[in-house]
Symmetry: C2
């Protein structure tokens, strides 16, 4: 049986659970786009390609896989920063690029969207740094295996791959027989060392008197989220996460504390960490931002690490063990009555000091004030900057999902990622009232603001808090506290919904501004915010130099040096 | 004498005529930004890095050189599509990237804005495809020569270069002695063949009975714009341009016809071209878009080509001759009384058929209707799409400058490029009433719309015509005439000025909407449009499938195939 190239590709994407494709039309991908809707996939046309890549990243993190279509040169290069972020933080995006017809490439024709030098391989070369597979679909005999190879690599590594589809290949017939076998991720056979390692780990677990569990973000790609839930629930051991690991485990469990911040956080927590005799570290992603600048990395002497490609006990590293299989065995073997019952340190109590309704809103109390808005299943995105620093301390309901800045930290990412995450979330449930929250500073907002229009067009339920502090306050904390280069143009944010295409009545009813606690309180009680639908935007004014946590330390350092 | 690295770099930029720097602050460039204003350079903070690169490109084309500052990874990769366009169409941008401190790089630290793999060289590798020099300023002994080398390469090739400045190098002292010698572009000595080539060319010129001059865009970088003016004025020979060459020569000269479009244009012009016995082809850039898909490239048998690196007579190619020197000699030697006086074909007369004020605005008559608005010295930008196709036929006043799509054709480019071009234009004159016009479709506008706010903040005089045809009409002409993927979200364009920060009164007074000829006529007579200041926005509604010229051909082909 035979099938057209585009149909094969899109059938594979459907098989892998992709429901929508992001992107921007362009001369070299229009024929490809003809096949999107007939393949039972939704097309989400974005305002530009960087935003499309960011959206695809957000969708991949919630859905497990996403797809992006851009055009040769101009389109794909606009997307490359988004692809790089997805590579760094492991969001598998299938990036499909429509390219010029094979004949034009072979004759090195000086057509538009090239560098006018006859070289057609430059963009694939550039992107090879930030994708785990690159295939160019030019030979019908090879196409099925090329596509399958690329998709398998994306799944194995949980990272982006790159497929070039010449415009004259789109409707060429290829062999369809692969399609009857689903794409599978190969599994390694047991190494034979598992029983002895298991024994070693169990002994450590049974002996531990001050144990803790530290959950990091790579757990998600290791297929061990369910195992973690069981481990945390049954052991009842004190559990912390990193930024990347936050929301992998249910924060409503009494033994889950939230993000561990070392000396910036609760001193009792730090005492417990520093005196721990066993740290079970799952899915580590040891970058500066994700580890309070490397200060909270667990002591290797007391740590057992479960990484995607090794298990480490002290200084011994065991490779080629499948983490999910191993953890299944561990949980089956573990005799729960042999482990210590631990009362971890007290949970930090957020002081419910009452706020004067006439006082201006401050970073310090803002996040705990909005926290009660969240409910089960919400997706919450906190953009790099003061929003993310505040969002670290959110206490999440069960099944909520939070996005925080992990390593790439490209400002502008979170708004289009909200589009992608909210869409994936809606596709995964039958419920109509899925919701997403975005917390974003006014500087980050300017980067990718137009994607609000796609959120409106897709009719998603999204509540956007814009923190208006007149510029890049995170940068003010780092350097240039009073410098003009950290200021930005002042926008009339409460016109955003109407400008970007919401109906006049919706925009008027759902655009809010708050400067004081009283104003914020009224908004948070408002039925349109609590139980409304569509996009709602709440502009919240805060001070230019108002920062908390690690940023406050930096700001104070700077003031001291002045 | 010694000087800090940042001071050296910025002093060099000042010496080369750069007045403003574009970019976005980021953790790794803040220290560098501290030196911008003290170096007597203006800082233009853009909304995002792609827009900043586009703006730098527009500035470079008017000013001759520009500078862009971004941060490592996230910033520079967002800009890379803009850099690639500048590389393709020869706009020299000095792209300065603030990078992590040397110690972090040497220890392969897993810090934010990296791929978390310890590799710090990936982005430089990627950008090496689209820049003519890459330098990493890590050794104080080498820095002055590294900077000078990069700047010289930018000037020689008229293309972008890439400089990495680690944050701990910014205020390191280096030797300042180079600064007393200006950066110079080396000149090749005469080859010795010049007199015989000159003789050959003069004979052809004296013999020509149906000669013409064809001016293309690379002339600008060859330093021969003045020579072209003399040649066109004194010979009075029929003269055409390409899209890239338009506005290099004064279109008010009686012998200058405008853009040559072959079979799509005036048949009399085509007859003249086809029967020409001599074509002087200056600064060729032979790409598809710039040559009506290669259909208007001059016949080599009758052509003498002056390119940046060779002169070609028939099939004979002479290299290593400096075009500006050679053309100076040619013009000095040329005996004007020995050349044929030519009456070229009649100029196409735009029929001034009167338009019914109640009729809807159409592409066919729109451009000639707005054309009388232009005056000496205006800069006019026509975005890829219907706007550019219409703008081909503008008749420009003297000293006007037009931007049209040449080869890279990245939609979204022209709006930030308007910022850059208008700023460069204002810096170059003492007059306060410099102006720029932007013609842009609603689809392109969505790509980079936020940069309107920077134009407002910089208080530039810019008139924006937004052609609202509900989507990507150029794509509709190419493929997918009725497909939903060519539609876009509908925006409330007349709120743009207010949303992006213009004062309420300015926004209200300067936002216009026209659907009919009568409405357009009233707007074009309006004193705020004719002689106002600041940003004015005119939304003009046109049909979704309303196209002209080459696009009309494509659309008709598609209809015929349906």
């Amino acid at each position: 049986m035979s099938i057209k190239v585009a149909e094969y590709l899109f059938t594979r994407l459907r098989q892998l659970g992709v429901g929508s494709i992001f992107g921007v039309p362009g001369d070299y991908n229009l024929h490809l786009l003809d096949f999107v809707q007939p393949s039972d996939l939704a097309w989400v046309g974005n305002c530009n390609e960087l935003n499309a890549a960011y959206a695809a990243d957000g969708y991949a993190r919630v859905n497990g896989l996403s797809a992006l279509i851009t055009t040769f040169g101009v389109g794909e290069l606009s997307a490359i920063n988004g692809i790089t972020g997805a590579y760094t933080e492991k969001a598998p995006i299938i990036h499909i690029v429509g390219t010029p017809a094979r004949g034009l490439q072979e004759t090195r024709s000086l057509i538009h969207h090239t560098l006018a030098d006859g070289e057609y391989g430059r963009f694939a070369d550039m992107v090879s740094h930030v994708t785990v597979a690159q295939v160019d679909l030019k030979d019908p005999r090879l196409v099925p295996d090329q596509i399958d190879h690329a998709l398998r690599q994306a799944l194995i590594h949980s990272r982006p791959v790159y497929l070039q589809v010449p415009v004259d290949m789109v409707d060429i017939f290829i062999d369809a027989s692969n399609l009857t076998s689903p794409i599978s991720v190969p599994s390694a056979p047991a190494t034979g060392h598992e029983p002895s390692i298991l024994q070693r780990i169990l002994e450590r677990i049974y002996a531990a008197q001050r144990p803790l569990i530290l959950i990091d973000g790579e757990s998600r790609f290791m297929g061990i989220v369910g195992h973690i839930d069981t481990l945390v629930k049954t052991s009842t051991w004190p559990t912390w996460t990193t930024v990347f690991g936050k929301s992998i485990v249910n924060e409503q469990y009494p033994n889950v504390y939230g993000i561990y911040s070392g000396s910036l956080g609760d001193p009792l927590w730090k005492d417990y960490f520093d005196s721990a005799d066993l740290i079970l570290n799952l899915g580590p992603h040891n970058t500066s931002t994700n580890s309070s600048n490397f200060t909270v990395l667990p002591d290797p002497g007391v740590t057992i690490t479960f990484s995607s490609n090794y298990i480490q006990i002290g200084s011994d590293i065991y490779r080629d063990i499948v983490p999910s299989n191993f953890l299944s065995q561990l949980l089956q073997t573990l005799e729960i009555n042999r482990i210590s019952k631990i009362n971890g340190p007290a949970k930090s109590v957020i002081k419910a000091s009452s706020l004067n309704p006439c006082d201006l809103i401050t970073q310090k109390h803002f996040y705990r004030t909005v926290n009660p808005l969240f409910r089960d299943g919400d997706v919450i995105l906190t953009e790099t900057g003061t929003a993310a620093h505040g969002g670290r301390n959110f206490v999440l309901p069960q099944n909520a999902r939070i996005f925080g800045p992990v390593t790439w930290l490209s400002i502008g990412y979170m708004l289009p990622a909200t589009l992608g995450a909210a869409l994936a979330q809606r596709e995964q449930t039958t419920s109509k009232d899925t919701r997403a929250f975005l917390f974003i500073g006014d500087g980050s907002l300017q980067m990718s603001v137009q994607e609000i229009s796609t959120i409106i067009r897709e009719n998603l339920n999204v509540i956007i808090f814009v923190i208006n502090n007149n510029g890049y306050t995170i940068e003010r904390a780092i350097h240039g506290r009073k410098q003009a280069y950290n200021d930005i143009a002042s926008w009339t944010h409460n016109l955003a919904l109407r400008f970007f295409g919401a109906s006049e009545s919706h925009a008027e009813q759902n655009s809010f501004v708050a400067r004081t606690w009283g104003e914020l309180d009224a908004i948070l009680r408002d039925e349109r915010v609590r139980n409304g639908s569509g996009v709602r935007m709440i502009e919240v004014f805060m001070g230019k130099e108002d920062v908390q946590g690690a940023l406050l330390q930096l700001m104070e350092q700077q003031v001291a040096n002045e």
